[in-house]
Symmetry: C2
Subunit: 307 residues, 2 copies
């Protein structure tokens, strides 16, 4: 994907739902200038795929929102309220002309609330908009990635949860910087490495590889964001009798693998075609009871997991 | 300071100035739900002290905003526009009943703009509000800090500026998490350490120590945010004939120092009284031509530097 191939994810026809389930569009401002989610990136978000009028893999996203809230010392999210907000959003989304059969991207946002009004509690809202154009290209063509060393230390991430390594916080600037940096090398995406050279994740997806007939992913407690899509995929693989494992992986392991994917909620699966300019094997996911190519397989699995 | 001693920094009487210099208050929302500063922490901020109706150390803050914008591939800020916005804010601030002789905290915010409207360019605004109550306490009583290891690697920060280690980005959640974590130990503030045990900075201030009659601070290129107040202090010290140095410092160096401060734009200087529960020497800043205690000294210097 190229920079100019990006389309704004929130565009005409977008739906906005506030904390009280009120539905609006993007015609006016709805957040205060002193929101701590804005001035300190102090909050959380989730992005979900909307297909066939349903929010895919919703339970895992709401679970992660709850875990992240606890890690940030935010009050627990009200699951019933969020479910009602999402239902209101999906109803409105189906009614927009933009929706049709088109896939949507739902974004759930939860911040520490306003600095001027600390008693008011978290700011909460969700948006639903057409998926970005890059998604179709990544599913179809796969992605070329460059490996980027970061300072993330897996052992420290385990010992010091306050560093928020496993939290999908609004403080996402380094993730977007990694994508810009990767594009400056002509790549589509990045493969983030730990300080010890371990493969961590993509800036917006989990790494899954096929090694010796197993589905493997980096250890979820080692400084990565535990992926909802990776989790759904592994649960379905387990059920289908396909062996799975979390393990330490380095770039050489991926180069020797039979296939490598970045899996994520909205893109589902983007096959990694090249790492640092070198071609990666293009094997399929292990079959077991799973059929079809990576995207179809993961889509089916995620739908099933969300059922 | 205790959690309950915090007063919202943006309170009644606050002034908000938008990109076009229009002045408003906090009565309504002014930011869109798809602002990339909010959903991705993708932007920058600066906080400045407003004293005697003036914004202290303004040039250094505008310089840092420009450097950070370049580091994040944002268009360069329009200095004339920012100066006009700040002038409008200061005029309005002087007219509020809240202002009087009370100090204010100005916050400049600059984001990548709206996802739905990428051509519109950055979102820019500033707020001015009374300084938080914690400021007076920190100036008067100093702060007890706990040292917290982080994964920041000074060498990697030098080699990989895309990691944004030296940028005051809106992705500030780990800084606020460090403060919460420090308070869970009964401390007032944190002293962040690198992966190699080097002293980096506080979550919202630079470390300055007196060692052998010199003012020393951690190397500014080693994963810390270059401090505007530290820079003003060192410039004034240089002019006054007080020797200064950037160097590698560890906790033992601070324990052996004649005095340690966290210096920052709004608090100016908070003397560090304890590190990890152990008392720190309470010497003054080297005299040279500088007189008075740390707070008075830095305040005078910052005023002078802003002149």
């Amino acid at each position: 994907m190229r920079e100019d191939a990006e389309t704004p994810a929130v565009a005409r026809g977008a739906v906005v739902v506030d904390h009280d389930g009120r539905v609006a569009g993007l015609d006016g401002p709805q957040v205060y200038v002193d929101d701590l989610g804005l001035v300190h990136g102090d909050g959380l978000f989730e992005t979900l795929l909307v297909r066939g009028g349903r929010a895919c893999n919703l339970d895992r996203h709401l679970d992660r929102l709850a875990r992240g809230s606890a890690a940030m010392d935010l009050p627990a999210p009200d699951r019933r309220r969020w479910t009602a907000m999402i239902d209101a959003g999906l109803r409105a989304w189906r009614e927009t002309g933009a929706a049709g059969d088109r896939e949507g991207m739902a974004r759930l946002v939860r911040t520490r609330g306003r600095e001027a009004d600390p008693g008011a509690g978290p700011t909460e809202y969700l948006t639903i908009a057409p998926v970005p154009d890059r998604v179709a290209a990544a599913r179809r063509d796969g992605v070329r990635v460059v490996s980027l060393p970061t300072a993330v230390d897996p052992d420290l991430a385990r010992r010091s949860p306050w560093l928020l390594a496993g939290v999908k916080s609004l403080s996402y600037a380094v993730n977007t910087a990694a994508l810009r940096h990767a594009r400056s090398f002509g790549a589509d995406d990045a493969l983030l490495l730990s300080s010890t050279g371990a493969v961590l994740e993509g800036p917006r997806g989990s790494v899954v590889a096929v090694v010796d007939g197993r589905l493997v992913t980096p250890r979820r407690d080692g400084g990565v964001l535990p992926g909802t899509t990776q989790d759904a995929l592994f649960a379905a693989a387990d059920a289908a009798g396909v062996p799975t494992a979390e393990c330490d992986l380095d770039v050489a392991d991926l180069m020797a693998a039979d296939g490598v994917w970045l899996v994520s909620s909205v893109t589902l699966a983007a096959r990694v075609t090249h790492i640092d300019g070198i071609g990666v094997a293009q094997g399929d996911l292990p079959q077991g009871d799973l059929t079809g190519g990576a995207v179809i397989g993961v889509a089916a699995l995620v739908d099933e997991a969300a059922g």
